[in-house]
Each structure stands twice: as structure tokens, then as C-alpha cells.
């Protein structure tokens, strides 16, 4: 066997090991050396994954407490990257060793998250609390989540986010990413709720809100002043400061259709 053939066999063996039993530190170093200058080749790992997925049956939902932790983790990851999230995982892992499960684990993870960000500005503390509230609502039965559909309005350029709404509790949260900042002395965003029990010409006023300067993400509570039954659509418009009683719908920014 030529030296090149031996090298190729070593590479194949290490890639197969990586895909099945993993590599020791020495084996990893050897693989890195063999791969030097070559493109990364995950094909055997992808093949192993394909084989595994052909037989695994995802027959149980995520435990609610775990899902709550993941959602908090997601928000933390998005805001601050993986370092702080690793701290949250380490903290929650140590609690797991004490066998705290389910909603207790979630609640503690939420408290830990609050403790982590409380060192920051007052605005960050309030935002973390809204994050927790929104996550808590997501875990409630009957809660729906719908992504925003942005319009062609300039304020909507590049936005994303969603609406979380629970009709039984008459509570929800809007979240926006990249919604244009507004000067509340001139214009404010206003939420409108279209519901089965309301005349479509006069949707329920969901209140005004602002996007402060240099704020990429906002979470806004939805607390309609009247009971809304059969919510079918939420719309955000841009109105004069203080909002309006009836919108002319000249600047509709985003829509969310609730099923």
C-alpha cells in the first residue's frame, strides 16, 4: 500500500470513527492534520444521521419545563450570544442534579436569567421580564403564535417577529425585530384587533407603543380594553402621536392572521 493509500485509509477510518463513536483528542489532531488543505467532509456524519433518522420515532413532545428553558435560552442566545447562554445551561444543569423538574426547573431558569441581566440597564430588566411573561404564555393551553406579515410600508422594511395570543386569558405579546424607530412626539405605532364579535369597520384599539432609538427588538404586551372573542387578525398601523380612535389605515405596517 502506498503512503498516499495509507493516508487515505487513515482519513476514511477517522471520518467513520467521527461519525459513529467520536474521536479522542489525539485522533482529532490526526484528522485535522490529514484534512489540512482539504475541504471539510461531513458526508459520513450526514449518512449516519440519515440512517438514524430513518429509525428514530419522535413519539413524545418536549417536556414543558424543558421547552420553557429552551425558549429562554433562545432569547438569551439571540441577545448576547453563546457565553451567557452557557452560564444559564450550567446553572440549570446544577439544579437538575438536585432533581428539580418540570415547571420548577423552568421557573428557576427564568429567575436565573433575570439575575443575569439585572446588572444591566433598567430597560434590559423590564425587557427580560416581558420575555419571561411571553414564554410563560406560550406554555399556556390555547396560546397561539403567528408570525407577522410585513407590508410595503417603509417602517416595515426588514422586520420580523410574531404575535402570541391567548383568547381564554385575553392576553398576548407582540414581538418585533427591526421595526423602525419612531419619534413618539410625532408618530406612534397602534395595534388593532379584528375579532368575530366586533364590527370589522371598527376594530378594537390595542393601544399605542413605541420603538426607541437603537432598539432592534421590542416586546409589547397586548391587553385589550374590552373582551375580544374570535380574534382573527391583528394589524399595526402608524398613527399620529397619541393614536387615533378610528384609523384611516393609511400606513399599515404589519399584519398577523390568527387561525
Amino acid at each position: 500500500m502506498s503512503a498516499e493509500d495509507k493516508e487515505q485509509k487513515s482519513l476514511s477510518d477517522l471520518l467513520a470513527d467521527q461519525a459513529t463513536q467520536g474521536l479522542s483528542a489525539a485522533e482529532r489532531k490526526q484528522l485535522d492534520q490529514l484534512l489540512a488543505g482539504r475541504p471539510d467532509d461531513p458526508s459520513l456524519e450526514l449518512t449516519a444521521a440519515t440512517i438514524q433518522l430513518a429509525e428514530i420515532v419522535p413519539d413524545r413532545p418536549l417536556p414543558l419545563g424543558l421547552k420553557g428553558k429552551l425558549m429562554i435560552q433562545a432569547d438569551e442566545f439571540f441577545r448576547q450570544g453563546d457565553q451567557t447562554t452557557q452560564r444559564v445551561i450550567r446553572d440549570t444543569r446544577s439544579r437538575n442534579r438536585l432533581q428539580w423538574r418540570g415547571w420548577m426547573g423552568w421557573a428557576l431558569a427564568a429567575l436565573i436569567l433575570v439575575a443575569v441581566v439585572i446588572r444591566d440597564s433598567q430597560r434590559a430588566v423590564r425587557k427580560s421580564t416581558l420575555v419571561e411573561q411571553r414564554q410563560a404564555l406560550l406554555l399556556e393551553p390555547g396560546t397561539q403564535r403567528v408570525a407577522w406579515t410585513p407590508t410595503n410600508d417603509p417602517a416595515a422594511m426588514g422586520i420580523s417577529g410574531d404575535v402570541v395570543w391567548n383568547e381564554r386569558l385575553q392576553r398576548g405579546y407582540m414581538s418585533f425585530h427591526n421595526l423602525a424607530e419612531n419619534d413618539p412626539r410625532i408618530r406612534q405605532y397602534q395595534l388593532w384587533i379584528f375579532a368575530e364579535n366586533q364590527d370589522e369597520r371598527f376594530p378594537v384599539d390595542g393601544g399605542v407603543f413605541d420603538v426607541p432609538k437603537d432598539t432592534a427588538d421590542v416586546i409589547v404586551p397586548i391587553t385589550p380594553g374590552v373582551h375580544v372573542a374570535g380574534v382573527k387578525l391583528l394589524a399595526v398601523t402608524l398613527e399620529k402621536a397619541g393614536g387615533v380612535v378610528v384609523s384611516k389605515r393609511e400606513r399599515v405596517v404589519s399584519l398577523a392572521k390568527v387561525l
Binding site: 459513529t20 463513536q21 450526514l46 449518512t47 430513518a54 420515532v57 413524545r60 428553558k69
Partner: protein, 187 residues
């Protein structure tokens, strides 16, 4: 929005994509974690670590190489294998009969399978019996090659060859017959 858009949106910094990732792949990753973990607490820790890995590696997803689901499965397996290696490995109570009952097209209809998944299982069935057992013990249950050699009463070198060639054969046949990572968007 199609499940295959999720990782590209994660890498683009869309916060709603992170939760969609949890909703779409959470059940699958939970099933994988339970398969490879010592207990429920261990599995929960693994799931959290896996999602971090997915979000960090989202930009590396290449739709030309695999489906998003397969890529997520690969990331999950990497972390789970790594966790297995870092723990003192416990002998697994895996009966060989578990492997001899390879799911096939004639299997009980209690378990729904995509047509594509059946195709993968058919390709596995076409491997020699010894190679199939070695490969499935390695992939399905995460046994080390030494553990497999002990279980099947084979030399370690033979097991390593079976695992390597089995993966290469399946890779080749998947590449020739079907796009790699052919699972649908549903879990």
C-alpha cells in the same frame, strides 16, 4: 414558512426562527437525546446543548448536501456522541434481537414511516448481515467499536471495516439514488 428556511433565518439573526427551530425539531432532538442519555436529566441537558450547537452552526447548513432535518440530526449526534465519550461508558443492555428486527417495509403499521425512510432501511437491509449489525449497533445505539467487537465476537479491525464500509456504501447508494437527507419536513 417551510421548515427548510429555519436555519438560514437563524443565521440571519431572525429571533423568531430560534423558537421555530425548537418547535420544528424539539421532538426529534428529545427522542435522540433520550436514546443516548443515562436518564431524563441528562437528556434535558443534552437537548439544551444541542440547540446551542444548532444555532451556532446554522450558517454551515448546505441545502445541496442534505436536508435541514438531516443536518440537525448530524449536529445532535455529534453532541450526543461527545457526551457519551466524556462519561464513563456503561455497558448497554442491547439485545442482538433488537438489531435482527430491522424495520422493513413489511413492519407493523403501528409505526408510520416516510417512503424515503423505508428506502434507507431497504439499503441497510442489502448490506451483509454482519455488516448491518455492526453498523446499526454503532449508529442506532452509539456503541463503541470495541463494544461491538465484544458483542458480536469479532476482531476490532473487522468491526471498524464493517462500520466504515457500511457508511460508505450507504452514502454512495443514497448519493446515486436519492438526495442525501431525504426526510420530509414533518418529524
Amino acid at each position: 414558512m417551510a421548515a427548510t428556511d429555519i436555519l438560514s433565518r437563524v443565521s440571519a439573526g431572525d429571533p423568531s426562527a430560534l423558537n421555530e427551530c425548537i418547535d420544528t425539531y424539539g421532538q426529534l432532538i428529545w427522542a435522540l437525546a433520550r436514546r443516548f442519555s443515562a436518564d431524563a436529566g441528562d437528556a434535558e441537558d443534552a437537548v439544551q446543548e444541542i440547540f446551542i450547537d444548532i444555532w451556532k452552526n446554522a450558517s454551515r447548513f448546505d441545502s445541496g448536501r442534505s436536508s435541514e432535518r438531516t443536518f440537525v440530526g448530524m449536529i445532535a449526534r455529534r453532541r450526543l456522541i461527545d457526551r457519551l465519550r466524556s462519561r464513563t461508558r456503561q455497558p448497554r443492555l442491547v439485545e442482538l434481537t433488537d438489531i435482527s428486527v430491522t424495520p422493513s417495509a413489511q413492519e407493523s403499521t403501528r409505526v408510520e414511516r416516510h417512503a424515503e425512510a423505508n428506502e434507507v432501511l431497504r439499503l441497510i437491509d442489502e448490506l451483509g448481515e454482519e455488516r448491518k449489525k455492526a453498523l446499526l449497533l454503532a449508529v442506532y445505539f452509539g456503541l463503541t467499536h470495541e463494544e461491538i467487537a465484544s458483542r458480536l465476537q469479532l476482531p476490532l479491525g473487522t468491526v471498524k471495516t464493517h462500520v466504515r464500509r457500511g457508511l460508505q456504501q450507504i452514502r454512495q447508494r443514497l448519493g446515486n439514488e436519492l438526495p442525501l437527507g431525504l426526510m420530509g419536513t414533518s418529524q
